[in-house]
């Protein structure tokens, strides 16, 4: 909402208040602004008269002018085609600041130029307000302009504007009157009455017929005005429209906009002769078409409200009028519409079709009393500035509630909620400043709120009004006095995050929304993809089922920037839809690629690094000896020979492995663990167990086995044969013997909790291990 200082001054006196102060004070009562300042941002301008004008000898378009600016005569070189002797012009003097830069004395092709003669465009006025002559040539001021005076003042362009960013509840402030009441409350000043008195003519024409066939119109006023004279608006109307951001068109159209700005009530004027004598307000039909004022064919649906005549729709209610009943230069008679349409409906229509100054106001809700006021104000201005003869008849459809609201509230309610001690008198005075009347009944105040404040309906709204005018920042912070209690926090996710950080992984944070082709990757599960109905882009269209596609995108991003070494993790939500139900669950993903250690001690990431991360985490969570890796159910994006499902208590809790070479040429290792599946699993307590005080016996041995025998196979056999004294098995050497065979060397430790072990006890066990392993796994012992 652009607030013109001149416009506002019609209704409240702000002559002593600087525009910046006004803007800041309004902010302090809840009305923020984006910018504030002069309408024309130019300095050093003065009215001058061209005393002489000759062609520049070295140019075919430059003129050498002598310009009288009152106190002196300036030499100015001017290139405008319309510069000539005798005209009055706008001169930017040496040092003048214009939006295009600073004007400096200088020589132009050898001749002194001590300033610039300006066009309207050069003053920095928005392009939409400019006519062709404002751009092509310098501005020619009328002869009554006084040399030496301020041209902006002369042109009525010396306005100041605050551009407010209002909260959505304050629709009432989308009007000069609303702003005047707000400023009046702020500075405790009186708001002037609005002039609405006009003469009417006895209207003998057939009474205008309005029928409302939708529930979404609560008030509709229609009045005829005859014999309007279409012409340019008076200057003050044009300039106020411009300050408010609206382009002047002609007096009649401008008046409808002017009244909307003043009262907040959008109006519409129809060419009565083109419209006919009837209006029907109804829901649009599906696929009904309407060409709006901007000459665009709009396709409507039953969600929209239209204004129609006998034949067809003539306007999109609350948004924009139709082209074929538009007020044109030959228009003689008009119908004035002032109405209220359902705010939600207008909001949805305007969101779909077009946002306009009108729809913006309808959306926020209107005061029915203003609907009547705006009608009268329009009639007043039309009779005054368009010579209209206003009909004494009015057609009214009215199901609106125009009553002022009465709210009871106690002083205690107010101070109790705010934590303040504002005296009764001051509270009552605040209400009065706001234009609310107060009946004082002991401790209870009966506050009558004028209908313009549609945002106020309950006690708490009144409390906010008191707080804002009193000064909400005067409240001193006090900590609440509450019962002492323990705060709670889920430590599971935190514990995992800390563990991953401690393992040297960098945490990432990626988008939940991914391209919809990606959701089914890195999984064999079947599920319905969850897609946004209205995505911002295809890149963020579907809710991820797994974190792994996101991890791969992070890898791609970094890889393209030559960040090849990544050990990263993320904890986040996965989403799925099964049988029309939505589910979301926490998951942990890890990606490792490139070098695990860099430089001198370079070490490339391999499967065993990520397996180490997995074991560290699961052991840390208390699951040691309860999980295993099973080569089963490997999605096609994983390397079939270097990947596995992670099984815990017989259930798949995750996946680990290498990315398939078809997906990436780099060696990338991934892991995902479904945290919700393990969060509530029971875990044993940490309890001290006595360790053996007797010495252990340590033995080494190595087997030569076929390649298809795994470490796990050997360990299982060793365990079986070793019995209770075997307390540790550790693989300490592994090498490839030839294409078919490998050698694995183990260190075995034997311990007895209660005695010192001897070779007599250990050797038979050791030999049994050798025999069992070599016979069962058909392998041989090395270097016995």
């Amino acid at each position: 909402m652009k607030l013109s200082r001149k416009f506002l001054s019609d209704y409240v006196d702000i002559s002593d208040i600087d525009i910046k102060k006004l803007a800041d004070d309004m902010t302090s009562i809840g009305n923020e602004y984006a910018s504030c300042g002069k309408f024309v941002n130019a300095t050093g301008l003065i009215i001058g008269k061209v005393l002489s004008c000759e062609m520049h000898p070295d140019s075919d378009h430059l003129h050498l002018c002598k310009v009288d600016i009152g106190k002196e005569t300036l030499d100015i070189v001017c290139g405008a085609p319309n510069v000539r002797e005798g005209i009055k012009v706008i001169v930017a003097m040496d040092g003048a600041e214009l939006p295009g830069g600073t004007i400096k004395k200088g020589k132009i092709r050898g001749y002194d130029s001590c300033g610039m003669i300006c066009s309207i465009e050069e003053l920095g006025i928005e392009h939409k307000f400019l006519k062709e002559e404002d751009i092509k040539g310098i501005c020619e001021l009328p002869s009554d302009a006084i040399v030496g005076e301020d041209p902006l003042k002369y042109l009525n362009l010396d306005d100041e504007v605050i551009d407010f960013e209002l909260t959505s509840n304050r629709g009432d402030l989308l009007s000069i009157l609303g702003m005047a009441y707000e400023v009046g409350a702020l500075y405790n000043r009186k708001v002037n009455d609005i002039e609405t008195k006009y003469d009417t003519m006895i209207d003998k024409s057939e009474k205008f017929n309005v029928s409302v066939k939708t529930k979404r119109c609560s008030l509709f006023l229609a009045k005829k005005a005859f014999d309007v004279k279409i012409k340019e608006s008076p200057d003050f109307i044009k300039k106020r429209l411009m300050s408010s951001g609206i382009r002047p068109i002609n007096n009649v159209v401008d008046i409808s906009n002017y009244v909307m700005l003043e009262t907040g009530q959008p109006l519409h004027f129809y060419d009565l002769d083109r419209l006919g004598n009837e209006i029907i307000v109804r829901d649009a039909k599906n696929d009904e078409e309407l060409v709006t004022l901007d000459n665009i064919k709009r396709n409507l649906s039953s969600d929209d409200i239209v204004i129609a005549n006998k034949e067809h729709a003539v306007g999109l209610a609350g948004v924009m009028g139709g082209l074929d009943t538009e007020v044109l230069n030959d228009t003689k008679n008009i119908l004035i519409e002032s109405a209220i349409f359902d705010s939600v409906s207008i909001r949805l229509t305007s969101k779909k079709i077009l946002r306009s100054e009108a729809s913006n106001r309808f959306e926020k809700g209107l005061d029915p009393n203003r609907t009547y006021l705006a009608m009268d104000r329009a009639c007043y201005l039309l009779s005054k500035y368009a010579d209209a003869k206003i009909s004494n008849e009015i057609t009214v459809f009215d199901e609106s509630d125009k009553n002022d609201k009465v709210i009871s509230i106690s002083i205690n309610d107010i101070n109790g909620l705010l934590g303040l001690n504002i005296p009764d008198k001051e509270i009552i005075s605040i209400f009065n400043r706001l234009g609310f009347t107060v009946k004082n009944n002991k401790d209870i105040l009966e506050v009558t709120v004028p209908s313009r404040r549609i945002d106020i309906s309950i006690k708490e709204d009144l409390i906010e009004e008191v707080a804002r005018i009193y000064g909400i920042d005067k409240i001193e912070g006090v900590l609440p006095i509450l019962d002492t209690k323990k705060g709670s926090l889920n430590k599971f996710i935190r514990g995992i995050r800390n563990k991953m950080v401690n393992l040297g992984l960098n945490e990432t944070m990626s988008y939940t929304l991914i391209p919809n082709g990606e959701t089914h990757k890195f999984t064999n599960d079947s599920f319905d993809e969850i897609n946004l109905l209205d995505p911002m882009s295809d890149d963020h269209k579907s809710l991820r089922y797994s974190l792994l596609p996101s991890m791969m995108m992070i890898y791609d991003y970094n890889s393209k920037r030559n960040n090849k070494d990544l050990c990263i993790f993320e904890i986040g939500k996965n989403f799925k839809k099964v049988n029309d139900e939505y589910y979301e669950s926490n998951s942990l993903a890890v990606l490792m690629t490139g070098n695990y250690m860099d430089g001198l001690y370079k070490e490339k990431v391999d499967f065993y690094h990520i397996k180490g991360v997995m074991e560290e985490l699961l052991d840390y969570l208390g699951f040691n000896n309860r999980y295993s890796l099973v080569i089963d159910d490997i999605p096609q994006e994983f390397h079939p020979g270097s990947s596995a499902s992670i099984i815990l208590n017989g259930k798949k809790i995750g996946i680990i492995g290498k990315v398939h070479p078809n997906v990436s040429k780099d060696d990338i290792y991934l892991m995902e663990i479904y945290l919700d599946l393990i969060e509530n699993l029971g875990v044993g307590k940490i309890e001290y167990k006595e360790y053996s005080k007797y010495p252990s016996i340590s033995k080494d041995l190595a087997f030569i086995v076929n390649n298809d025998i795994t470490n796990d196979d050997i360990i299982k056999e060793i365990k079986k044969a070793g019995g209770k004294y075997l307390s540790k098995i550790e693989l300490f050497d592994l090498y490839k013997l030839d294409d078919n065979r490998k050698s694995l060397a183990y260190n075995l430790v034997f311990t007895d909790q209660n005695n010192t072990l001897t070779d007599e006890i250990v050797m038979p066990l050791f030999n049994k291990i050798i025999n069992d392993v070599t016979s069962k796994l058909k392998c041989e012992i090395r270097d016995k």
Binding site: D473, V501, E507, D534, C567
Partner: protein, 350 residues
């Protein structure tokens, strides 16, 4: 006769010194030791000859031979110590390393700034007796809007332009949805003190807005809480997160779920309120929205507004992280460049 032995003493010692001069290793020394003190050694043989000496001279001669033995032993021991010392010196010298070679670094992980700040906030509020709660990111319209006094068609739905997946379900635009869930879940309708940090989503993308961002919401419901209590609480939060000197300012505002509503500014922690580029020369930074819980919100979640009051506040987590760590563009938080992530790899204990 004693004189002969005295002379012999000097000869032996001279010879020994010469021999020891030639000794380089412990092995050499063993040979020298044998030559003098071995079974057939020079000193051993001298001792053996004692039996041939007439008894009255044995005392004095014996003393001389003893002296010889002592002297020889001492010299050999000295040499032995010398050799050991030299060996150790050599060993230490050989073991000298270049301590400026790079270390075998253990990998150092890092926590994303979003979660660093979240944990900081959680710890603060837990210490004041708040529960940390979470809720679904894929929410129903009811919890995200309707129960928070935002009926269908409410204009605030525009500013929170949302991602729907069907008519009733959307990615939550605000963590306030957890407010409604937690009030509903409290069957006794007893006092509540909670915060709920988490991810939120809106149709927005530029340097300061991301379609995915984080919010955390605080809610206190009790019999007797005031707007002044809200300010006191936010002052503690601002000082903890942004520095002890931070001041808090209230401006009236509008949110459908609170009444009165306030916009909360904090004094600029960069310039201390003097005015700088961060605070756009105002000295203040807009931090969060807050207010007293709207009676409709209390009512629609089962609390009697005549008995209970409450305050609520909510702010962007990314924004806090960006302010705290001087991150200029929110997109940096989500592109996960490893050069960004690795910068958050240490504690700030002070």
């Amino acid at each position: 006769m004693e004189k002969d032995y005295e002379k012999r003493n000097i000869e032996i010692l001279d010879e020994l010194k010469k021999d020891l001069d030639g000794v380089k290793t412990s092995n050499d020394l063993v040979l020298v030791k044998a030559k003098y003190l071995g079974k057939e050694g020079i000193v051993t043989l001298l001792s053996k000859k004692m039996k041939d000496i007439e008894p009255e001279k044995r005392g004095s001669i014996g003393k001389i031979i003893n002296d010889i033995r002592t002297n020889v032993t001492t010299l050999i021991e000295e040499k032995d110590n010398y050799i050991k010392e030299e060996l150790l010196k050599k060993k230490l010298n050989d073991e000298k390393i270049d301590i400026t070679l790079p270390s075998k670094k253990l990998r150092r992980g890092s926590m994303h700034p979003f979660n660093r700040i979240t944990e900081e906030i959680e710890d603060l509020f837990v210490s004041m007796g708040y529960d940390v709660l979470s809720g679904p990111e894929l929410e129903t319209d009811e919890y995200c809007f309707q129960r928070l006094n935002i009926p269908l068609g409410h204009p605030v739905r525009d500013t929170q332009d949302s991602f729907y997946v069907d008519v009733d379900h959307l990615l939550r635009t605000q963590t306030s949805s957890v407010q409604a869930r937690c009030m509903e879940a409290n069957v006794e309708k007893s006092p509540i003190r909670m915060i709920c940090p988490g991810k939120t989503y809106r149709r927005d993308d530029d340097a300061t807005h991301s379609h995915q961002f984080g919010q955390f919401e605080g809610l206190v419901i009790d019999k007797d809480v005031t707007l002044a209590n809200l300010k006191g609480t936010l002052e503690v939060m601002a000082k903890t997160l942004l520095g002890e000197k931070t001041k808090v300012r209230f401006r009236p505002s509008f949110f459908p779920f609170t009444e009165p509503s306030v916009e909360v500014d904090v004094s600029c922690f960069k310039c201390g309120g003097k005015g700088c580029s961060l605070c756009k020369n105002t000295g203040w930074i807009e931090l969060l929205g807050a207010g007293m819980v709207h009676p409709n919100v209390l009512r629609s979640n089962g609390y009697d507004p005549e008995k209970y009051k409450g305050f609520a506040f909510g702010t962007g987590i990314d924004r806090l992280a960006m302010m705290k760590y001087n991150i200029p563009d929110i997109r940096l938080m989500y592109t996960n460049d490893i050069r960004f992530l690795k910068q958050f790899d240490r504690k700030e204990l002070k």
